[in-house]
């Protein structure tokens, strides 16, 4: 709260100083485009908001390429990822300073959510496109310009009504432009809202305020200072993926298992609180006509927490696998059926279908259980945890631009950053219980409950926890990074060539704030420091073939430091780094052909990238071992390639047709090495994962669309048909580990899996897939005049055919189809391989948008 008051004070100070200088009233901006994509990035609330999810998409958008400039919002409903790349390969800068979160390398679009008007002001570069801020990453780069004088002048009010994550949005922004005295101010304020009754997904809500204030002073001597601050305190309830069986039983593909009833009222169990107040000071120095130096310093304090139901007994989730009908009866016919119990199947099915209370969390029962336990002075059994991922980041970016002559441009710059990531878990709500102890219940049994090894923190042994207390883990990840680059671009005859090189490095370490009982000597205090040097080069050339035809070629090689998030084998508990941690190497190339004439604009691109020595980290619960398992996959080789087409035919002056299409491949080549640690014993095991051929999940690998746009007399009409296919779900290493496959092949059930020479024949599962499909969208808009001022009205109708079977991602379950006890393997009736968790796209939805400028 104190921070918020400081920000208000800052805002007021800013407004007063502007007052003192006087303002030049802006002229009416007459170039308002009706199809204003800034207002249409309606799925912004899905863009990489979840710190703990891997489905973040990249917003590329270089306007030089029709394909990249359109896919961002055309395919957002299917959560399309540019070149099937993780967000971490897309570098995002703000006023020239890199803004990707350092630990996982991703930019959190939620940090600028709601600030559509300001965020339109950007300079985007495709992966092999020259720019004036840095060498672009494998997924391209974007530099947002938040300087006050760069923003559009005048006032604008936007009001939106929609039926998606949020249902109402209001935005007010005002820009003064640069006054005669060299002052400029810009501010934007947005609010997005829905509650449990209005949000599209049952049991969710959205409550988000966004603000940005930017104040600039330009002097005649070429210097300029800009102070900008922004943030968006957001509170929102999450939707959970579930299995097709759950969607069938609930008769709803937007079924959300994350909420429940308490006293007859809906309550969300997973609520995200996200606020990243940021302050940035930018110094621009136009040294002379040809040279410019831009330097920005940024400080960002990200406060992110997400809540979740936690428990010390059986998982109370309504879609826990043992509650499904198919837990009792093998509907897939994959087993011998000896455990089939049709009565139990029917009982469970009837229960699921008896009403929403049967398939949502029963908070009343959880409270009652804790109240009962209070009577016997026992630990609470259910509570709500909050996982915190806070980051304090200080960064500096400086960039020098020198137009050496009319055909040459030289750029050089540095990026420095220092991040302290604070990761801890707190008790958010005891649900009527009085306390529980800070011990690892999963270890009790392996050790007695009085054994020190079960204690999460030996510095505060056997601590009784109350609301607000930190428990289970508490550690900091500290990362320091530096990067320097230089690039040179030159026009020579018909060619435009670009060369860039980057050199960088990072240092990272962990600082434990708890002494974990299992790792008493290796969990509290600082770990060793891991340092990495990395860098790369990119070259690109465009040949102008005349008559609007051009061909471009680009190639690059880069070594990229591992992310701190992937660097530790078990960061929640101890200090050890992943064994054999190293830089990921990236080789990439693309060739592109473009046409630009009076009736056709076309870009056709083929790309290829080969990445090796990659490291990824994940964590899951293994019920065969009754233990959490921390998995580090290493030596990952990935190959991505594909073709991309963007074409716009101008049929008449007011009618055009745009085609977008891609076919791509993004898969792991060869098997990966895996280190995994069982949290109950603290043992590290090394094996192989049969991950060869696993594809990037959560994005269509094939997509195509045709859009018809017609404009007449201030009206705008658009119709877009999209087709998505080849959607894979994120694979789990667990079912493909060699140790797991050996167990299966050598077991009595696996007798058939021994070949003639006696070698085990593995049954590596196929990667789970989701449905693609066709989605039809339409939009209609009209520009009016309200007095002197323009008012535009847009109505977007999405998924008009109400296609509810389009999968937008999901993941395979990290559980085996058998249980193991005493080396004996028992086939489970429930089939995890057939029950991946999925998300589906919303059916018909709409957005009505009013824009008024004055």
């Amino acid at each position: 709260m104190k921070k918020q008051f400081q920000l208000v004070a800052l805002a007021l100070t800013a407004s007063l100083s502007v007052h003192a200088q006087g303002i030049v009233e802006s002229e009416e901006d007459s170039t308002v485009m009706i199809n204003d994509t800034g207002d249409f990035t309606i799925s912004e609330s899905q863009l990489g908001e979840d710190d703990d999810m891997t489905s973040d998409i990249i917003q590329v958008g270089s306007s030089s390429n029709l394909y990249t400039s359109n896919i961002g919002w055309t395919w957002s409903a299917a959560r399309f990822k540019f070149r099937a790349l993780d967000n971490k390969y897309n570098d995002v800068y703000i006023n020239g300073v890199q803004a990707n979160q350092v630990e996982n390398g991703r930019f959190q679009y939620s940090n600028i959510g709601g600030m559509n008007d300001a965020a339109k002001n950007k300079d985007a570069a495709n992966p092999f496109e020259g720019n004036s801020f840095f060498m672009p990453g494998l997924g391209g780069a974007t530099n947002y310009d938040f300087r006050a004088s760069s923003m559009s002048m005048g006032s604008k009010v936007t009001l939106s009504g929609l039926n998606r994550n949020y249902t109402l949005r209001g935005v007010f922004s005002h820009g003064t432009g640069l006054s005669k005295n060299g002052w400029a101010f810009y501010g934007t304020l947005a609010y997005r809202w829905s509650n449990m009754e209005t949000a599209a997904v049952d049991g969710t809500f959205y409550n988000s305020l966004s603000y940005m204030l930017s104040l600039q002073k330009k002097w005649d001597n070429g210097h300029s200072l800009n102070l900008a601050t922004w943030g968006n305190p957001t509170e929102r309830a999450q939707q959970g993926a579930s299995t097709d069986e759950a969607y069938w039983l609930a008769n709803d593909r937007l079924y959300n298992p994350y909420w429940g009833y308490q006293g007859g009222k809906k309550r969300a169990s997973r609520v995200v609180n996200d606020f990243a107040p940021t302050v940035m000071l930018t110094w621009d120095w136009q040294i002379n006509d040809r040279m410019k130096l831009t330097t920005s310093a940024m400080m960002r304090y990200q406060l992110y927490s997400s809540t979740k139901l936690d428990y010390s007994g059986t998982n109370p989730a309504p879609d826990y696998w043992k509650r499904f009908p198919s837990y009792n009866y093998d509907v897939w016919g994959a087993t011998n059926g000896s455990n089939n119990d049709l009565d139990a199947y029917n009982t469970a099915k009837e229960y699921w279908q008896s009403g929403p209370q049967a398939r949502q969390i029963n908070f009343d029962e959880l409270y009652f259980a804790n109240q009962q336990l209070n009577k016997t002075q026992s630990d609470a059994i259910y509570w709500i945890q909050a996982r915190h991922n806070d980051h304090l980041t200080t960064s500096l970016g400086s960039n020098f631009t020198w137009n050496t002559d009319k055909n040459g441009k030289f750029n050089a710059g540095i990026q420095l950053s220092n991040t302290n990531g604070m990761h801890y878990q707190t008790v958010d709500d005891l649900l009527g219980g009085e306390y529980f102890h800070n011990v690892d219940r999963h270890l009790v049994g392996t050790y007695t409950d009085t054994d020190p090894r079960v204690d999460y923190d030996l510095n505060n042994p056997n601590r009784r926890l109350k609301v607000g207390d930190r428990y289970a883990y508490d550690y900091n990840l500290k990362v320091q990074k530096f990067n320097a680059y230089a690039s040179y671009a030159r026009n020579m005859g018909i060619s435009h060539s670009y060369v860039a090189a980057r050199l960088g490095g990072s240092r990272m370490w962990r600082e434990g704030n708890m002494r974990n009982g299992l790792f008493a000597d290796n969990s509290y205090g600082e770990s060793g420091v891991a340092g990495f040097l990395d860098g790369g080069v990119k070259v690109a050339s465009t040949l102008n073939l005349g008559h609007g035809h051009a061909i471009s070629l680009g190639a690059g090689f880069e070594a990229k430091s591992p992310n701190a998030r992937d660097a530790f084998i078990c960061p929640e508990k101890m200090n050890d780094f992943v064994y054999n941690l190293k830089n990921e190497k990236i080789a990439s190339a693309e060739v592109s052909y473009s046409v630009n004439n009076s009736w056709l604009r076309l870009n056709l691109t083929g790309y290829f990238s080969h990445r090796y020595d990659g490291t990824e980290w994940s964590c899951f619960y293994d019920d065969n071992e009754s233990s959490f398992v921390y998995v580090s996959s290493q030596n990952i080789t990935k190959r991505n390639y594909g073709v991309e087409l963007g074409a716009k035919f101008k049929v008449t002056s007011n009618f055009d047709i745009t085609l977008l299409g891609t076919w791509s491949e993004a898969k792991i080549v060869g098997n990966t090495d895996v280190d995994y640690m069982l949290s109950d014993k603290g043992e590290l095991r090394r094996t192989e994962c049969f991950a060869d051929g696993m594809r990037e999940g959560g994005t269509p690998l094939a997509a195509a669309s045709i859009a018809l746009n017609y404009r007449v007399k201030g009206w705008y009409l658009g119709l877009t048909g999209n087709y998505y296919d080849r959607i894979y779900l994120s694979y789990t290493p667990v079912t493909r580990l060699k140790t797991v496959q050996d167990l299966w092949a050598n077991n009595k059930y696996g007798g058939a899996y021994i070949d003639e020479e006696g070698n085990p024949v593995y049954a590596v599962p196929e990667q789970a897939k989701g449905n693609g499909g066709f989605v039809l969208d339409a939009s209609i808009g009209k520009q009016f005049r309200l007095g002197k001022h323009p008012l535009s009205v847009n109505l977007n109708l999405c998924n008009i055919t109400n296609n509810r079977s389009l999968c937008t991602g999901g993941y395979e379950q990290s559980r085996a189809n058998y249980s193991v006890s005493n080396e004996d393997l028992n086939i489970r009736t429930y089939n995890f391989l057939k029950n991946p968790k999925k998300y589906y796209a919303q059916g018909f939805n709409f957005m009505l948008n009013l824009n008024y400028r004055f």
Binding site: Q4, F5, V8, A11, L12, A14, S15, V18, H19, G22, I23, S155, F172, H174, T176, G187, L189, N195, F205, N207, L209, Y211, L213, P233, E235, A237, Q262, G263, R267, A268, V271, G313, T314, A344, T347, Y351, N362, F363, D364, E365, Y367, F368, A369, N370, Q372, L373, K375, T376, S378, I381, D429, G432, V444, G445, Y447, T448, D449, T450, D451, N822
Partner: protein
Amino acid sequence: MEKIKIFAALLAGAMCFGSCMDKDWEAPDFGDNPPYGNNEIVPAPSKKITIAELKAKYADVFSQRSAYKLVDEDLQLFAVVNGNDQGGNLYKQLSIQDETGGIIVGINATDLYALMPVGQKIVINLKGLYVGTYGSMSQIGGEYNGGLGRMDENMWKANVRLVGDKVSVGTSENDPVYIPMTAVADTIDFYSTSNNNELVGRIVRLSGVTITGDGTQILAPDDGSVSLTSNCANRNINGAPVRGMVLRTSTYSDFASRPIPTGKVDIYGVCTHFNGTWQILMRTNSDLVEQ
């Protein structure tokens, strides 16, 4: 300029009044209507049957090693929980008792201890449930694979009512009549008896005995050093009033890894009798007291 003032005012307003949607939720007070079980069950003295009376009434099944029968009469048990799965040793079972005896209830559910702690008084509608024996141990449960097994959790919820120290009798809300629940979860010293059913489901005490067993010297090793039955290890109790009595502990229990005490101990636990063997099941780690 006015617009900037408006802007600042809006921002200040939004910052100060922006409020939280996921409000602090109050813990509900359920009173006599707990959200678990069937609050429609009306306890009626006319339907009451004691555990001893039940065992006598169905003597034909309770006297056999494995037999069961559907209860088709409107009978109610007024009982108190004396053992549950708190320590992870009883699995999908409760043991209950009244002033006349004890019995095991098999329910296909876990974490029963959190809903029905030791001392919880309950009224069970027996009609529609099965009674009988499994390996000569008397139980209330459901039919499973042609034998007596655990009942479905929903079946249990529909047939049990969790009650306080007094329960109202009759249907008139204006004129309730209360009867006290007298049973308490008490402990008795184990004694030698020829009636196998007499002590089953009771909490018994064995004083000054010693425990012995092979393999790894913990209560329930899962390292293969002792043979297990249904993931449980049996350890001999020496010095008990009857021969062949064992302390039975699940490898999944919270105290599975507790070292076997070398000296004399007092054991408390649920008394069961399985195919001719007396088996004592500790409920929590504190049921084993070293002298």
